[in-house]
Subunit: 232 residues, 2 copies
Amino acid sequence: MFWTFIDASQISGGMVRIDGKKGHHLGRVLRVRPGEPGVAVCAGREYELEVVGVEGARIVARLLNERPARGEASTRVALLQAVLPNPDLDAVLEGGTAVGIQGFVAVQAARSVGRPPAGRLARWEAIVESAAEQSHRGEIPRVAGPMTLTAALDQAGGSRLLALHPAASLPLARAVDGSPAYTIAVGPEGGWTEDELSTLRARGALAVNLGPRILRARLAPIVAAAILVQRP
Amino acid sequence: MFWTFIDASQISGGMVRIDGKKGHHLGRVLRVRPGEPGVAVCAGREYELEVVGVEGARIVARLLNERPARGEASTRVALLQAVLPNPDLDAVLEGGTAVGIQGFVAVQAARSVGRPPAGRLARWEAIVESAAEQSHRGEIPRVAGPMTLTAALDQAGGSRLLALHPAASLPLARAVDGSPAYTIAVGPEGGWTEDELSTLRARGALAVNLGPRILRARLAPIVAAAILVQRP
């Protein structure tokens, strides 16, 4: 069973046509074959498909059924994530997508190890799209950056802003107040600097912690987002 | 700053002596030196130390201060985890320790990929101890197994038993009822079999889900435990 994201232009006459890079991935890498079931997601709807034809990198599938997409959380969580070394940031994008984060902004923080070029964004988008397929999301999370903390905060309007900080006195779970949208800012392995914390506070961020245990930078944002998404 | 677990016999006369494997790790691997601060945890208390002497693999430190250990969650969470392929199970032990799990039991499930020998337990214990040091826990989580699901359930008395199952109708966060202790049973990548779910239900397990998104087997138990531990 495959899961993929398509454009409305690919649906017509009860059929879905997938070619280009996605067709290549399905036909050549995943080797889907006629008869195989799958789901294509488009504009908030899930389309149940059955593959009827594979010609190299071009897949044709019959539309069996459609329904609203179910993979999105009702609480919207965006993550302003300080740049981490490669495998860690990749893990945050992958795990964060699986737990339901709806937008990522990579922030070039003072203590970030590494300074990714602007071109890195394409790689991040590919990781997030692949994770969205694997986790059966209803949309592909947006990714932006790398950019400064100030620029990232300019994009965070309209949501409750939380800054993860080990020395904060308020547990994250107690900062949940029924808001429909949260933005959580998570620093690098060495944490946010005092300057960065001031910038965050000036934008109304509430500093929160995840308890007295030290979580690795690659795990903390995933856990924080999961707690916000999974509120009863 | 180092963090280590010691026995009461290693404390005497305001000094702490660490030798053997731990002394080797501190002196030879981490290369602690006189003047370096650290914390040793013993029987629920944290001892602030300053290294005063290093002779090869033998560390002598002065006791500066002591206080109750702060790294343990007030909600106790144990994990019955189906055996996963090596790197995934290792990641569950490491991340699960960091979020606060207090005991792990490895379960040889019907759909487990791999059948670790009994000797694997020593490796698991080493991973958990190292993760407990890194995350500044107040105790080293217990690890047991591999064993059958029935044997594992015999160890789960006195706690609220939850079985993670994607098809369950109850979200995990809604199964939290103020219990002081939870045991959560998490299956392998292919999930629990119907037989295993029957066994779990017969022991009073409540089936719970983590929402409509598919989480990798290496991430689901960490997220589930974090949600239980971090209840406000």
